[in-house]
Amino acid sequence: MVISLDQLTKCYGEQTAVDALSLEIPAGQIVGFLGPNGAGKSTTLKMLTGMLEPTRGQASICGFDLRQQPIEVKRHVGFVPESGAVFESLTGLEYLEMVAALYGIPPNAARARIKQFIAFFDLSFETLTDKLLGAYSKGMRRKVVITSALLHNPPVVFFDEPLDGLDANAAVGFKALIQTLAREGKTIVYSSHILDVVERVCHRVIIIDKGKLLLDGKPDELVAAHQSGTLEKLFTQLTGGAELERRAEDFAKTFRP
C-alpha cells in the first residue's frame, strides 16, 4: 500500500479533529476525500504531508513512517493546499525555482520542467518572469501552486480543493491530467466539495465527519447500496444535510416583501 493510516488521531486540547482514522490506499488510485466543513479533512491531509504531527496512531507513505522519516515522506508527496498560498512578492518563476531547489532539482532541469507546465496551463513565460505573484489572478495563482506540487514528480499527490479559481478549460485539463497520472501509477487524494466532479473522476470515495470514517468504497457502488441516486444526495444523507432544501425554502420566504 502506498498510503497507510492506522488509528491516526489529532487532538487540539479537548477537541478531537481526527479520530482514530484507519485506511489503506494502493498505487494508481484516485481517492475522493470528502466531508462537511470541520470534518477533519484538511487536518488529515496536513498530517499525511508532514505539516502536522499526529497526536496518536501511525501512518506511512510509500513505506516511509510519518513520525520516523518525515523528510522522506515529504520528498514523496506533493500537496496543493486549499489556501493556495504563495509568496506574493516573488515572481512565478522565482517561486517555482525556489520550490525546485528545495527538492534538489538542478536549475536547468527545473527550468525545462517549469516550461512544460507553462505550456500545459497556457501561461506565458513573460507573465511568469515579469509579474509578482501578488498581481496574478486567482486561477493563475492556482496553476502555479499545482505546478509547484507536481514539479518534483511525487508518487503521491494530495489535492485540497484544486479547482478553486480555475476556469472551465483549465479544470477540464486538470481532471484529464490527474486521470492520466493515476494510470501511470501515481496515487491521488482529492478533497473537494464539488461532488459531481469527485463522482466522475475518483475510483474510490472516503467520507469522514467529526474526524471519523463514515463510508469508504467505489462511488457507484456506494450510491447503489444507499439507493441515493447521486453522490451528492448520499453525502447530504450521511452528514445531516437532508433538511437543507426545506430550510432553504423556508429562509427564502423571509425575503418576500
Binding site: G50, S83, L102, A119, F121, D122, L132, N153
Partner: protein
C-alpha cells in the same frame, strides 16, 4: 493544452535546502511579504538599491560618532553600542514576528522536505545578517573615530567582534521572547501577546533613539560615565562597550568584568533560543494555522464599545449609521489588528516623544520663565497624531475587503472618513492630550499652564480633516505594503510649521498679554477652514481604483 513530458527524477542524496531558504527569506524580507496590488512598475525590483539607501542612511547617522573624537574609548563605545542596540533591537523586534511566524508560510513550506529547525536557522541567519549590515554601516565612522581615540589597531578589530556579539544577543533575545511566550501562553495567545510586546518594544526603542543621544551627551554632567559605575552593568550596551575598553582602551578590570558579563549572557540567550527551546518553535509553526479550540475573548470588548457609541456624547456625534460603522471598524482595528497596531503605534510614538523633549528642555532652560515655548508647541505638535494616525490607518492587509464601501449605497467616502477621524480623535489624540497635559502639570505644578494647550485643541479638528479632504482617508482601503512608499512628508511638514509658528505666537502673546486675542483669531480662522474642508470632503467622490 499540450501534455507534459517526462518529469525529472528525485535526486539522491537528499538536497541541503539551507542556501535556498536563506535566499528566499532574504528576498522576502527585502521586498516585503505581500505585494498584492503592486503592478510590475511598482514592484520593488532592485533589492540592492533599497538596501544601499538604508545603509547610506545608517552610515550618515553614524557620523554622530564624530562628537566623541576627543572622548575616552569607553564613552565612544557606550554610545556606539547603545545606538546599535536601539537600531538592531527595533529592527529585530519589528521584523521577527513576521519572519518567524508567518501564517501563509506554513502552507507553502511545511510540506516540503525541510524541517522547521532548518527554517528557524535560515530565518535567524537572515535576521543576524541584515542586523550586521545595518550595524556595520552605522559603526563605520565610529570605527575610524575609535581608532583615533584608542590610538591602536585593536579597537576596530575588537569593536567588530563586540558588534557581532551584540547583533547575536539582540536576535537571540527577541527569538527567546517569542519562544517563552509560546511555551508559557500557548499559540492561541501568542499573536496578541507578541503584538503588544512588539508595539511596546518598538515604542521604547523609538523613545530611546530620541532620548538616548541627548542623555549620553549630558551623562558626564549628571553621572560619572565610566566603566567603574555600578549601574552601568545593568545596561546591555555597556557589556559590549566593556569588551572594547578592556582590549583596546583602559584595559581596566571593571571593563573585563563587563565583557565577561556580556559574553556569558549572550551565550546563555543563544543556547536557550536556538538549542533548548527550538522544539517550541517547531510546534508553534506547525499549529499556527490551526483553528483554536479556545474561544477568543473579544465579546466583552465588543460589548463595551457598542455600549460606548450608544451613550452621549458619542451617540450624538455618531448619528449617521455609516459614520458609526466606520468608527466601530476603525476602533476594532486599532485595538485588535496586529498589522495595524504594529504600524500605527510605533508610527506615532515619535510624535509623543518630541513634546516631552521640548517640555524637558523648556523646563530646564527657563526655570525662571514658567511660560516657555514647550507647552503650546506640545499641544500643537499633537495635531500630528490624528493626521499621522489616519494616514497610517488607510493601509491594511485586508484592503480588498474595502470594496464593500464602494458597493454600499453611499455617494462618496465622506461618512467613512468622518468615522475613522472620530475614532482616531477619541482613542489616539485625546489620550495623548491627557497624558501630555498630565506631564505638564507634574513638571510645572501649575494648572494655568494648561491654558497654553488651547491653540492645539482648536487646531486639532482641522489637522484631523487633512487626510480625508480629497476623499483619500478611507480606512483600511489600501495594501499595507504601499504604506512604506507612501508620501506623507508634505502634510506633516505643513503641520510642523504651523505648530512652530503658532507656538511662538502663543508664547509671545501670553507674555505680552494678547494671548486671548490670538485664541479668538484662531477660533475664527479654524472655523472657516474647517467648514471649507468639510464641504470639499462632502462633495468628494470615490477616488479612481488603480
Amino acid at each position: 493544452m499540450s501534455s507534459p513530458a517526462a518529469p525529472p527524477i528525485l535526486p539522491e542524496p537528499p538536497p541541503a535546502p539551507e542556501k535556498t531558504l536563506r535566499r528566499l527569506f532574504l528576498t522576502l524580507f527585502l521586498r516585503g511579504r505581500g505585494a498584492r496590488g503592486l503592478n510590475k512598475q511598482g514592484a520593488p525590483k532592485s533589492i540592492g538599491r533599497k538596501l544601499a539607501l538604508t545603509l547610506v542612511f545608517y552610515l550618515l547617522f553614524g557620523c554622530m560618532a564624530l562628537y566623541f573624537v576627543r572622548q575616552s574609548v569607553f564613552a565612544l563605545s557606550v554610545y556606539l553600542h547603545a545606538m546599535t542596540f536601539v537600531f538592531l533591537g527595533m529592527f529585530v523586534a519589528a521584523s521577527a514576528g513576521e519572519i518567524l511566524f508567518n501564517k501563509e508560510e506554513t502552507d507553502i513550506l511545511l510540506h516540503r522536505p525541510i524541517t522547521p529547525k532548518t527554517m528557524l536557522w535560515a530565518k535567524i541567519r537572515v535576521l543576524v545578517e541584515v542586523s550586521l549590515w545595518l550595524a556595520g554601516a552605522f559603526n563605520l565612522v565610529g570605527l575610524c573615530v575609535g581608532f583615533g581615540a584608542a590610538g591602536n589597531w585593536r579597537f576596530p578589530l575588537i569593536h567588530v567582534v563586540s558588534t557581532i556579539m551584540e547583533a547575536l544577543f539582540c536576535t537571540g533575545f527577541v527569538v527567546l521572547a517569542y519562544q517563552l511566550c509560546l511555551r508559557w501562553f500557548g499559540r492561541e495567545r501568542l499573536d496578541g501577546l507578541m503584538t503588544t510586546v512588539q508595539v511596546l518594544v518598538s515604542v521604547a526603542m523609538i523613545a530611546a533613539s530620541q532620548l538616548l543621544p541627548r542623555m549620553i551627551f549630558r551623562l558626564d554632567h549628571v553621572l560619572n560615565l565610566t566603566e567603574a559605575s555600578w549601574w552601568i552593568g545593568l545596561l546591555p550596551p555597556a557589556w559590549f562597550a566593556g569588551l572594547d575598553d578592556a582590549v583596546a582602551g583602559s584595559l581596566a578590570l571593571n571593563s573585563w568584568l563587563l565583557a565577561a558579563m556580556g559574553l556569558a549572557v549572550t551565550s546563555v540567550v543563544l543556547w536557550l533560543a536556538f538549542v533548548k527551546l527550538a522544539r517550541d518553535y517547531e510546534v508553534g509553526l506547525q499549529t499556527i494555522n490551526e483553528t483554536s479550540s479556545r474561544r477568543v475573548k473579544t465579546r466583552g470588548g465588543r460589548r463595551w464599545l457598542n455600549k460606548l457609541v450608544q451613550l452621549p456624547p458619542l451617540s450624538w456625534w455618531l448619528r449617521d449609521p455609516v459614520t458609526r460603522a466606520s468608527f466601530l471598524l476603525t476602533t476594532a482595528y486599532l485595538f485588535r489588528d496586529r498589522d495595524v497596531k504594529l504600524r500605527v503605534y510605533p508610527g506615532i510614538a515619535p510624535v509623543l516623544i518630541i513634546p516631552f523633549v521640548f517640555l524637558l528642555q523648556d523646563g530646564r532652560g527657563s526655570g525662571h520663565q514658567p511660560m516657555g515655548f514647550g507647552v503650546p508647541f506640545s499641544g500643537l505638535y499633537l495635531g500630528m497624531v490624528p493626521l499621522l494616525g489616519l494616514q497610517l490607518l488607510q493601509y491594511s492587509q485586508q484592503w480588498q475587503a474595502s470594496d464593500i464601501f464602494r458597493l454600499a449605497p453611499i455617494h462618496g467616502p465622506a461618512p467613512l472618513c468622518h468615522g475613522a477621524r472620530r475614532a482616531v480623535l477619541c482613542f489616539l489624540a485625546l489620550p495623548m492630550f491627557v497624558l501630555v497635559a498630565g506631564v505638564v502639570w507634574l513638571l510645572r505644578g501649575d494648572l494655568t499652564q494648561l491654558l497654553l494647550f488651547i491653540p492645539g485643541l482648536i487646531a486639532l479638528p482641522v489637522f484631523a480633516l487633512v487626510p480625508g479632504v480629497r476623499g483619500r482617508g478611507v480606512p483600511l482601503s489600501m495594501p499595507s505594503d504601499t504604506a512604506k512608499s507612501a508620501g506623507r512628508g508634505l502634510s506633516l511638514i505643513f503641520v510642523m510649521f504651523i505648530a512652530l509658528g503658532l507656538s511662538a505666537l502663543a508664547s509671545v502673546g501670553w507674555a505680552q498679554g494678547w494671548y486671548w486675542w490670538l485664541v479668538l483669531g484662531e477660533v475664527v480662522l479654524a472655523a472657516i477652514i474647517y467648514t471649507a474642508m468639510r464641504l470639499v470632503l462632502a462633495k468628494a467622490r470615490w477616488p479612481a481604483l488603480n
